[in-house]
Symmetry: C2
Subunit: 232 residues, 2 copies
């Protein structure tokens, strides 16, 4: 009943060379070269909430997560979108400091805290790897802070699009970006309202810098101008 077998999951996102030997609901070696339980989360599901006991680290295999912080009255800041191959939940300290939710259907591999703690002593390289992941997360956080604190609506949306572009367009500047998240998520990421995000998309369309195939599929026509607009 609960365990469903993947067939749609593999099409969603582009996991790079990870799927070679995936036996879905069993144990497997991931980026950490460690055994970890693989599971599938439907869109909207919460992996963990801010404040929950931080009992492990997740690696995203496919799909995309959003990382959120909430104020008591419900206002939300999305502090990151997590694509395949990234780790989240590194916390050192008893509790997660943010919430993680699936945007698309997501495959994740879970590494138990207890196992990691034990293994970190034996394999220094593992700790190094985690430190690297944390440093990367920190770098992205700094970029986002710069955006939230300094940039105006146009700059924010342009920056967001460029981020999404190089997050998925490891290939060519294929010029066609898929946005798995809805406008509300985008708004809460860049610190604007849905309406302003929408208006800004329209502005970019009118100036021929982008085109919208659908609401979730952006064609970038003028990379240079988009780059200027982002003020990086």
């Amino acid at each position: 009943m609960h365990t469903q077998f993947a067939s749609t999951a593999t099409e969603r996102a582009v996991p790079r060379g990870f799927f070679a030997s995936l036996a879905n609901e069993s144990e497997n070696l991931g980026a950490l070269a460690l055994p970890g339980a693989v599971s599938k989360k439907p869109p909207g599901e919460t992996l963990f909430r801010e404040g929950d006991a931080a009992d492990g680290v997740y690696e995203v295999i496919s799909g995309m997560l959003r990382i959120c912080k909430l104020l008591p009255d419900g206002r939300r800041q999305i502090t990151g979108f997590v694509p395949a191959e990234r780790l989240i939940g590194i916390s050192l300290g008893g509790a997660y400091s943010y919430t993680a939710e699936a945007i698309t259907e997501v495959m994740v591999r879970f590494y138990r805290r207890s196992a990691l703690d034990r293994l970190m002593l034996e394999r220094p390289q593992l700790t190094r790897h985690l430190l690297g992941a944390a440093a990367q997360e920190l770098h992205m956080a700094h970029e986002l802070m710069l955006m939230l604190g300094c940039k105006d609506a146009l700059e924010k949306v342009a920056s967001f699009l460029l981020l999404m572009a190089d997050q998925q367009g490891g290939e060519v500047d294929a010029a066609e970006i898929h946005l798995p998240m809805d406008r509300h998520d985008i708004a809460d990421y860049v610190g604007l309202t849905v309406e302003t995000v929408s208006r800004t998309f329209t502005r970019l369309k009118r100036s021929k810098v982008i085109a919208l195939r659908t609401a979730n599929c952006v064609e970038i026509h003028d990379w240079d101008r988009l780059d200027e607009m982002a003020s990086r």
Copy 2:
């Protein structure tokens, strides 16, 4: 000529049990229980700039640093204020991703990257320690992103004051907070203009929640109300 001997430095901030045996310009064991070169930086001096080769990690012994990100046109986001006992410059990746500058006169201990890399293999605990520092930094970054993206001017300034309070008031709620940074720094931290920050201080004064001894010394009179105002 260049090497000055401390006498004013020790009064500045409150290093907790760190100064027991400090022979200023020589090598010493710090929080990492490692040898590292100690040096003194005058207010305003840059430790390193975003983009510089990241050749090591600094530990603040006394005083306070600011961490900045800049846009090409000069707009600035301060992503953190670094008090004594904290590490900065963990970067894994060849370059620092932010700039670090002294706000007050600062004593720092420097750990060379090469030395750390070597030692991390021998002493797993060291890597763990660095991971812990990174995790803490990340936690603070998340709080700041929430503030920048969601909060209004009053909430931002209230949050800022509470942060400063528990950053230094390890003791009692002594109610007297010293702000080593100027209004411009505060503004660039909370994502407002100097004028708005000043107006907000005035607002807090008028409502008797705080009082200003001087521009850099805040007395907190009503912790509960300040806490509500911060919307945490």
